[in-house]
Symmetry: C2
Subunit: 422 residues, 2 copies
């Protein structure tokens, strides 16, 4: 094959290949998300990657749709988009079966989403995101449950309260304050600026805010308020009750944060974001909130809804920063290595171990013992079992631990099964 | 909200929404695929949905790339494709780390793939596919293992040998016979026609074949041969050995089928397909084969490779046709229904059950007992637990089976845990 014509081996820019060790890490995160969601009675669902463009056009943040979607015309002339987020799709699905579904309806999914982003830490063009949504509950019980769920989604990985905080705010309160500050253009522009406040210097923020609103001072004071006691709108009472009830339910990391905004247009009331408190990774990790209007966009009665959406990349960064990633093992429990002429007995052993529920890889080509060990080591398989003439004759086999180099006594296939599965 | 402006609720044409009951069915298939692959020592991986167009341009079937891909220009002017299949991506990944990976290398993935297809049974524009591939083994042991794996991928669902057959052929043999028949154009066109032979009437097939080759008679006789004894090429010996060794390894449904072709260009030798033997669904379900050249397309030494790729839709059709689908239960074990004023005690019970590992959904709004039962029933949750004043006072609760209507004795939270998890 001509080297000059060779295809490149790297993945498309901004996307990732998942080799087995990468896959295990991602799966570890997904398995924990699944465990927590299902313990709260959330049911799994999925939607297509491709959706009609108009599903996102009026729903998702305008910036994302205009600048960051993978959108194109299909072979039948329809404009389609690779989903940049899951919320419009799940709202569509709920609207389609509004009457048949029982409420409270709890749904979760772990979809891959696509955004044409400039590269920066925590951002990729294909990323995975847990979407957990609670439909049909107007009362504060919904907010309390979502905060409990959020807290468990951190605790399940071994995170402790000092590592993160859950910043809670009210869009209604924030919108009222923005309105009072006399925005010169769209109020949403001011909200998006506030969403970026953490990433800017105080001076830059003040400067940009002064460009967007007529009287920035009171708004600035509000955004820097540290306590709900300083706020006199009725929304402050609701926030107080929510934080109190969350604390009673064991969520001790939830705090009021007047500058927590979240970028999506569709949030209608309470919003929150989980913030990493470590100095090296001090940033908003993910968020959520109430978006009561979205199901109604499909021509049915609206349904009160609240949801959250942590992403795989930010979660992995958090776990790495705090040293919370466990060592992940291969799914394969043993490598069976046939020595010269012993492929038949090795196949028989492997068949028996597999029938007993052991995951076994078989060495298929005649190799030397050291070569087999090297292969099993590369795959992080914990045990190697050699099958030579003596083993074949006695039908007993030693399992060698590749890390400690210790070797078991000769074991029958049944004893070997117990040994490997223990 | 204006009804005329409402967004449509159906998914993009040819794709599917997966509500919880659909998701569970798909997950049942995936879980079984995963179990079988891992029992053979296959390791999980994943690749991006988006790949550069050129990855597929020269590899995948030309028809698929030209007529069936979702391809488009990204915002940076690059031509990209949503993967129509996984084989080029996994070949790219293996080529990128050719030296670091240990052989035999066993990899599996369950990606979603995208093809712009005309609608017909078993075809969708977004489908999932198990890809299991074995890299680095030249010998027939690789073919035997892949046939064993294929057979287990059917047996794990309860399929018996009378329900399916595994049709085995040699591309080398078939290509030689096509060459002898004097093709008028590209030999690959003849191969693709043969791949469609099962779906055509014998007359139509003969007519189209006569248009593509100069002397169709011997080729026709070969395609209708029922036994390897009728074939005198050396490849027949290899096929005989393979079928014999597969039988010894317990694969009794493998047979020689001279017309088994498979549509992809990249197969180089042995190919096979699993065929549903039921009269209602008599069709090729999925296939695989040896494709030794693909890793080499990335400018590295080629690696002998063999793989298979069953799809979710054809597998589901097969399981439905043969009555092999089990009843799938909700992940949620109990619905806790607080009666008026008892949300506090209900929350406490739920917290305790969850801490004990029980998946519990909580009723969050004040409803009547019958309404709660209706909701739990819609979600196929097996048990409902009412929390009224008496239950709160005694801290004991009855679990009611929603199907049999039987009710347990009053149980403490710990007893309830044992009851629900048993």
């Amino acid at each position: 094959m001509d080297e000059l014509m060779a295809l490149p081996t790297q993945p498309y820019k901004g996307t990732r290949d998942f080799y087995p060790e990468d896959f295990r890490l991602r799966q570890y995160i997904f398995d924990n998300w699944k465990k927590v969601c299902e313990s709260f009675g959330y049911e799994p669902y999925d939607a297509p990657v491709i959706e009609p463009l108009e599903l996102f056009a009026s729903k998702t943040s305008e910036e994302i749709v205009r600048e960051q979607t993978f959108s194109f015309e299909d072979r039948g002339g329809r404009m389609v988009t690779m989903r940049p987020e899951m919320t419009p799709s799940v709202s569509r699905m709920v609207a389609a079966r509004r009457q048949e579904l029982g409420y409270p309806l709890r749904l979760y999914s772990i979809p891959n989403c696509f955004r044409y982003e400039r590269m920066q830490r925590g951002r990729t063009r294909e990323f995975w995101q847990l979407n957990a949504d609670l439909f049909g509950v107007e009362g504060i019980e919904a907010e309390v449950e979502i905060l409990m769920l959020t807290d468990q989604l951190m605790k399940v990985f071994g995170a402790t309260d000092d590592m993160y905080e859950i910043r809670v705010n009210s869009r209604k309160l924030l919108n009222a304050r923005i309105a009072s500050a006399q925005p010169k253009g769209e109020p949403m522009e001011v909200l998006r600026l506030i969403d970026r406040m953490d990433k800017m210097s105080p001076e830059d923020f003040e400067k940009e805010l002064a460009e967007l609103v007529g009287s920035p001072d009171q708004l600035l004071a509000f955004l820097r308020a540290s306590s709900l006691e300083d706020i006199d709108e009725p929304e402050a009472e609701g926030l107080k009750t929510l934080l109190l009830r969350a604390k009673e339910a064991g969520v001790s990391s939830a705090i009021f944060m007047p500058a927590a905004a979240r970028g999506f247009d569709y949030y209608t009331d309470i919003v929150f974001e989980v913030f990493d408190r470590s100095p090296e990774n001090n940033r908003a990790m993910f968020g959520g909130g109430r978006y009561d209007g979205l199901v109604g966009a499909f021509g049915v009665e609206p349904i009160p809804t609240i949801g959250i959406a942590p992403g795989d990349v930010t979660m992995q960064n958090f776990l790495e920063t705090h040293g919370l990633l466990p060592e992940l093992k291969s799914e394969t429990q043993a490598f069976v290595a046939p020595l010269t002429g012993q492929i038949g007995p090795a196949e028989a052993l492997v068949a028996e171990l597999r029938a007993n529920g052991v995951n076994v890889a078989l060495g298929l080509e005649d190799k030397k013992a050291e070569q087999y060990i090297k292969v099993a080591d590369k795959k992080q398989i914990p045990y190697i079992i050699f099958v030579g003439g003596q083993e074949a004759k006695t039908n007993t086999f030693k399992a060698k631990n590749l890390r400690t180099k210790e070797e078991s006594e000769p074991l029958s296939p049944d004893q070997l099964t117990k040994f490997l599965l223990s």
